[in-house]
Symmetry: C2
Subunit: 327 residues, 2 copies
């Protein structure tokens, strides 16, 4: 059994916990939190919550720790710190800061003789792998990534910070015509606006100026101003009833040509349709946690990404069976 | 520069040659053939054809050889033989014999200190990897593979062997309703007949009994009897004009659930739409040839499959750039 710790118990931490229950070779040792552990009730029968500050005392009791903090402030500190004592997995997704994060984690993991795999999930993660495979095969081609239909938590949070907004949910939606053009191998040049639209469901506070809220949303730089955005005002009951889930998904498409005269076209597409973004992400993290333990046993220490992990490392199945059943 | 040899110059060999021209870090050393080398005219400027029996004299002149023979009789002999002297890649696809082939190639490659990657292409190959990733992430789920719309060369050959048939082309076609059900996460149980149909274009010899040919095709065991098959009789001119290409493709779909009560559904799909099956397969072989050379340099000798190859090994790009651009 691979003994696993979870650090952080928000949506992602709960997704990892649910995924562990579906992996027979993994065992949850404990959930580590900065909150008062007594306030957490893990769903796993018999599982306990501990203070994050007590983790070091579990040094010989866990094979790997899955870090479920946020990329903005948690992981840049947490991942290097915990990688000194444990094999770790994180889902760091602040793209511009990945090289710095990689370097910090690499030093810590090497110092401790541990293996850390960063930026695991679906994007970055499975989408990244699909981009790489597509580029390696079709060297002469073009990449497209579409996200959605799905809930963007960052955009939902941004709307919630607007004055007069009580609650909100934002969906990112790929433009169907753009996706079709790409799938048909037309190689279109697409602006931000042509690729995705945004749809926002807002619960306004009593007496709030809805027209003002709508204008503020649509003109918000970076988040909304480059997109066609639709805003709906609904009641809290409607929001809770119809928009409680965290679905997501999307497609990575690589189109390219082969032949001495580039005369043959090819389309590679990897797509996801997910009912629960955190549970799917958690499932990816758990598979890579298995790989981290195995790579560590094989002496591969330091910081790694999904690009360094041979697919066979992810499976709870003997190699002979993998070849017989999946090749 | 990675120095590459091609063994065999049929459709696949020519596909590999075209792919090499699109990879700046690879150089074609020569094409090796059992035919009279003087009868071959490689498309690559300056490239030469040599007798397959002369390959041993190129021992220090090639980093890897891409084997483009057939799985029935060529590769079971060729791959172990050549793996003694060179790093090799093959596209062995006789599923039931992969374990034996693996063992024979492993012994030969280890004896020679070489790295061999077998069963590379899209199925087996990229489809296998997709099945593995899907299974590793959604441990509680179901796999579906659909092939087509595309030309099956084995089925086309089988039709050509029927008395009275001058030429023929067979297309394998997924049943759209079945694909839709799977994509919708309905988890259907599908029979062979419910998953694919077959369409055959036949050029009959003058005076041949078309009704008899059609009956023989539709009742052919293994190849056609389990499928709904449509047969069209056309002229050689029509066949040459409309059915000259070798398009193919298909989808690997994994559907599964997460959550303590399996309450959330997910669909992962990897799909290919290929104008030229041999050129796409050749492009995959070339990317894995690069990986074979690198794995050999890293001391990883013996027989490998796509499951053993970390994605980063496939790319002609420094690791820092891979992380910056593709993660």
């Amino acid at each position: 059994m691979i003994k696993v710790g979870i650090a952080g118990y928000g949506n992602l931490g709960r997704g990892v916990e649910a995924a562990l229950a579906k992996n027979k070779d993994m065992e949850l040792v404990g959930i580590f939190t900065r909150r008062d552990p007594a306030t957490l009730t893990p769903k796993t029968p018999g599982a306990k919550a501990y203070a994050l500050s007590d983790m070091a005392s579990f040094k010989d009791k866990m094979d790997v720790v899955i870090l479920c903090g946020g990329s903005a402030t948690d992981l840049p500190v947490m991942t290097p710190q915990i990688a000194k004592d444990f094999n770790v997995i994180d889902s760091f997704d602040t793209h511009a800061n990945i090289p710095t994060h990689f370097k910090n984690v690499d030093e810590a993991a090497k110092a401790g003789g541990n293996t850390a795999i960063i930026s695991v999930g679906w994007d970055p993660g499975m989408f990244s792998i699909s981009r790489l495979y597509g580029n390696a095969i079709l060297t002469d081609g073009k990449d497209y990534t579409f996200w959605g239909r799905g809930v963007s938590q960052g955009h939902s949070d941004a709307v919630r910070r607007i004055e007069g907004v009580k609650d909100a949910r934002q969906y990112t939606i790929p433009v169907p015509e753009a996706v079709e053009k790409v799938r048909n191998g037309e190689n279109p040049e697409l602006t931000t606006r042509e690729k995705h639209t945004r749809e926002v469901f807002v619960v306004a506070k009593e007496g709030a100026d809805q027209a003002k809220i709508e204008k503020e949303i649509k003109e918000m730089p970076n988040y909304f101003s480059d997109y066609d955005t639709t805003v709906h005002f609904i009641s809290q009951e409607e929001l809770d009833r119809d928009h409680k889930g965290l679905p997501h998904g999307g497609s990575v498409i690589r189109t390219g040509t082969t032949g001495f005269d580039s005369e043959n076209k090819h389309v590679i597409e990897y797509s996801l349709k997910l009912d629960s973004n955190p549970e799917f992400t958690g499932s990816v993290l758990v598979a890579y946690a298995r790989a981290a333990v195995r790579m560590n046993e094989a002496g591969q220490t330091g910081c790694k990404t999904v690009f360094d992990v041979a697919p066979a490392m992810l499976m709870d199945m003997p190699y002979e069976e993998i070849i017989a059943h999946l090749l």
